[in-house]
């Protein structure tokens, strides 16, 4: 199986911050419509693709949304104020180029500060490079969102791009869907909305589908960068089987299932314990009477930056593991 760079590039460049997932939803729909038995969108906007069967109801979830900014004010001189959509820190934003759905761009600047340490979101503004206040007022409204602007780049084994969190999860689900094996199981591939603002889409999708088991595909941090986070996951170490994060303790049977499948199918895997963060599985596993849940994580460096880095071989292992679950 070759890594489909074209598809991933298209996904990474697709504008779709939390709550504005239209573009990516349409893109994914187009990509998978010939491979599914049923394709629906729920009231919050989750895209749910189903491969019907009479066996176990398995839910896979990857979120379509990406982090970004939302415009909260357009001032009299044509500068924009904003707030973050998802986990972003003001210090990481300064100087970044941002792009809107209408392809207009801006750069993030700061008011003059004596103490740079005291930088807060309200001291930052977006300069959209126009001296015409009318132009700005006609093209930008309160409520508009923008995302990082950055180029997709890849080396022999790795990719640098924005929104790998979690377009790479979507990519994996689509590859699994295209290679869907013969199975009795009833499989739901959920492309969820609003994960970055609190796993909101997964909560309603989990309720609606009411599965027997749920697996989220999402990125996770790594411990292999200089003086970085203390954890054992590394880029190139294979599919990461999550055992715990702040939203979930992986169900022991799911841990066993994923581990055994990896061993049986010769899939390179590593265990992951993340001391912060959460994923769609955190929301899904508490719906109704509970859903045994786990997560297949894609080891990723620089998460929530404009240049997230992952390894193509890890992605391949994740796809293999996902496919092996569908027929388990």
């Amino acid at each position: 199986m070759e890594f489909n760079s074209e598809l991933m590039k298209k996904f990474s460049n697709c504008f779709s911050p939390s709550g504005r997932e239209n573009n990516i939803r349409n893109l994914i729909k187009e990509e998978i419509k010939d491979y599914v038995d049923e394709l629906t969108t729920d009231p919050l906007g989750n895209l749910i693709a189903r491969k019907k069967g009479n066996g176990k109801k398995i839910l896979f979830s990857a979120h379509m949304d990406q982090i970004g900014l939302i415009i909260t004010h357009v001032d009299e001189k044509g500068f924009l104020r904003f707030s973050n959509v998802g986990g972003l820190h003001p210090k990481e934003l300064l100087g970044l180029r941002m792009i809107f759905d209408n392809n207009l761009e801006g750069v993030i600047c700061s008011e003059e500060l004596k103490d740079k340490e005291k930088l807060t979101m309200s001291k930052l503004y977006l300069d959209v490079a126009s001296t015409s206040v009318d132009f700005v007022k006609n093209n930008f409204q309160i409520g508009d969102m923008c995302v990082f602007k950055s180029e997709y780049y890849e080396t022999e084994d790795c990719v640098i791009c924005k929104a790998a969190d979690d377009r790479i999860g979507c990519y994996i689900l689509i590859e699994a869907l295209k290679n869907h094996p013969a199975t009795d199981n009833d499989i739901y591939y959920v492309f969820s909305v609003q994960e970055e603002v609190g796993c909101r889409g997964a909560k309603t999708a989990g309720y609606g589908i009411n599965p027997d088991i749920a697996i989220a595909l999402d990125v996770t941090a790594t411990g292999d960068s200089p003086d970085g986070i203390k954890m054992d996951v590394k880029l190139g170490g294979g599919a990461a089987i999550k055992l715990m994060d702040k939203s979930l303790i992986t169900h022991p049977q799911v841990k066993e299932l994923l581990t055994n499948l990896s061993i049986e199918n010769n899939i390179k895997y590593q265990y992951e314990v993340l001391e912060f963060g959460g994923t769609d599985s955190g929301a899904i596993h508490m719906t109704r009477t509970g859903v045994p849940s786990g997560v297949i994580s894609i080891p990723t460096r620089n998460i929530h930056s404009s240049g997230e880095i992952f390894n193509k071989n890890d992605v391949l292992e994740c796809i293999k593991l996902t496919i092996s679950i569908t027929k388990s």
Binding site: G223, K230, M231, D232, L243, M244, S247, I249, T250, H251, P252, K255, Y271, E272, V273, E275, H285, M286, R288, T289, G290, V291, P292
Partner: protein, 346 residues
């Protein structure tokens, strides 16, 4: 019986997410008093004692305890770990540890000697990431026995102090489970009309998870949540509940006012000691998920006063467990004999 039960469960581990490992002990104690047993999909145990009417009363106490999880295997037999639930790192220093790997492994959490620790560093608050479990094994040996994600706990045998006071790990919330056992025992004697569900809920310490799924499964008419609350020590504010003076009855928006009032009336009428606890917002207990489950569950919360919460020497008075259990049995009896809808009506 209560002391035996507590000493037995507290000698085993029930770390969040792994409550089932020693779930048989709970079954052994509850099954003689109940008719059926089921589980939700997160790990909560539900024991049911069938009644004669259709009312469903859910008692909930959480079965999990806080613990540790291994995050890295380092050279020279050291392990890095994180906490499962909220643990004060300072309470981990110089403790004996058991790691539940392929087999049980003994270890200790040590600390850099003061001679080598600069003054200002000694003053700083400790963090879990600064601590290590020392297993004394070689890395090669250790890797055979332990893997990332294995859980561990402080090794602590329950201890009887003076009078009826005992000290142990995980009395939060095995004290609550013990109260349910007293209720089951009492109700066996006086019988009951309502269907009683004893739910040992999983993963409370990591976010009141099992109580959400267990209460969805049971769909009860009312909920009685049993947890521990802060017990008075010299360093606590004077309004803190004291050990040995009965359960602290929580008052606040999370708890149905009329049901709470009814419980207080029962205590007064039958001379069961109790205390008050103002709890205006999140109580951090299973009532968080119970109250807003489905179309809502009217709840009360009773807390057993406990000193040194979330340490390995949690301390309670067995008298409070007896009092609370008996008061609840009487309360259920009173509900059986009155119009529940009337009580719950706003």
């Amino acid at each position: 019986m209560i002391k035996n039960f507590l000493f037995e469960v507290c000698s085993n581990h029930y770390v969040s997410g792994y409550e089932h490992t020693n779930g048989n002990i709970l079954k052994k104690y509850f099954q003689p008093y109940t008719d059926s047993f089921e589980e939700d999909n997160i790990g909560s145990y539900i024991f049911k004692s069938t009644g004669t009417n259709s009312t469903k009363i859910m008692l909930a106490a959480h079965s999990d305890e806080i613990g540790l999880m291994i995050t890295s295997i380092l050279d020279n037999g050291f392990l890095r770990f994180t906490s499962v639930g909220g643990i004060n790192a300072a309470s981990l220093v110089a403790q004996d540890i058991i790691i539940y790997g392929k087999e049980s492994i003994f270890g200790v959490i040590g600390i850099k000697p003061p001679h080598l620790t600069p003054e200002e560093e000694r003053e700083k608050p400790l963090k879990t990431k600064d601590l290590f479990i020392d297993t004394g094994l070689s890395k090669k040996e250790l890797e055979k026995k332990v893997s990332i994600g294995d859980i561990a706990v402080i090794k602590r045998q329950p201890l009887a102090l003076q009078n009826s006071i005992i000290s142990s790990r995980q009395l939060d919330d095995k004290a609550g489970i013990a109260v349910m056992l007293v209720v089951a025992h009492e109700l066996k004697k006086i019988s009951h009309n309502s269907n009683i569900y004893y739910a040992a809920t999983a993963q409370e310490e990591t976010g009141c998870r099992g109580s959400a799924t267990a209460s969805y499964k049971i769909n009860p008419d009312i909920g009685i949540v049993l947890d521990v609350g802060f017990g008075l020590t010299p360093d606590m504010p004077p309004e803190t509940a004291s050990l040995g003076k009965g359960p602290a009855v929580a008052i606040g928006g999370r708890f149905n006012p009329k049901l709470t009032k009814k419980f207080i009336e029962v205590c007064k009428q039958y001379n069961y000691e109790f205390q008050y606890e103002a709890s205006p917002s999140s109580s951090g207990t299973d009532t968080e998920s119970l109250q807003i489950n489905r179309e809502g569950i009217p709840c009360i919360l009773l807390s057993i006063p406990l000193r040194y919460m979330h340490t390995s020497v949690e301390t309670i008075d067995l008298k409070d467990i007896e009092t609370t259990g008996k008061a609840i049995a009487r309360f259920i009896n009173e509900i059986d004999n009155s119009d529940l809808e009337e009580i719950l009506c706003f």
